[in-house]
Point group: C2
DNA sequence: CTGATTGTGTACTGTGTAGTATATAGTACA
DNA sequence: TGTACTATATACTACACAGTACACAATCAG
């Protein structure tokens, strides 16, 4: 896997899917909508360069209708707003994440749900 | 506040406290132990340059007996191991953190505790 | 056929990161 | 008095990041 953990391939596939029903999802037009040069997006999609900045990734996710956190993860990044939240209470969040990181998905999901609709 | 959100001041204060009972906490000797030039640590402590890399911050925290997550937070960073954990399950962790980020400390702490000694 | 549009190749740029190297000036002590 | 240590000032470096600018060959639509 070249640069950036499959990010490029993922974006290209998503774009080509969107393109079937909508020719405005050409590389050039999409590049213009997210605010980069076509040659740059081309290199990104082929993994010839590292994934772009968070800002461009967010615009890409919006444009393609993909989950921005997943796209950022593929790019090896973590959303700034999450980082800010963690930095505001480092001990608390660090402790929580380190406890959850080795637990299976269903356990984490249970926590998420209980927090969402629990009486906290 | 100059560069890096009070990081330098915090480090200097911690070092000077340590230094009272132990002269090996001079700027020069500490710099050598963590593996940077004295001039660089000086600039860091005075906020003249941005905080150092995560690696140096971790060694600094160890040397000074401070919480590394707090030090990293002051430097505007989030520990790599936490970022890796989040990137492995982006939707899950992103969702959880966004739900908790506006809750009061005691609520988050309750979650941490229930996860720690609960039957999950 | 032609004119527009598509994706790609090559070369270059400014800014940030994470420091080193060396010189200088003050202080403590013996 | 000198030598050993202290902090700081100044100058510089190597490399990564995040792109732009422009030329090019291929393809498709009318």
């Amino acid at each position: 896997m070249g640069m950036g953990g499959g990010f490029g391939r993922y974006v290209r596939d998503a774009r080509e899917r969107r393109r079937v029903g909508d020719p405005s999802f050409s590389l050039r037009q999409l590049a213009q909508r997210i605010g980069v040069e076509p040659s740059f997006l081309s290199k990104v999609e082929r993994g010839e360069v590292a994934p772009p900045s968070e800002e461009k990734i967010l615009r890409l996710a919006r444009e393609l209708g993909e989950d921005s956190d997943v796209l950022l993860a593929l790019a090896g990044k973590v959303s700034m707003d999450l980082q800010v939240a963690i930095r505001k209470r480092p001990e608390l969040f660090a402790g929580l994440i380190r406890q959850l990181k080795d637990m299976p998905d269903h356990a984490v999901l249970r926590v998420v749900r209980e927090v969402r609709d629990g009486e906290w």
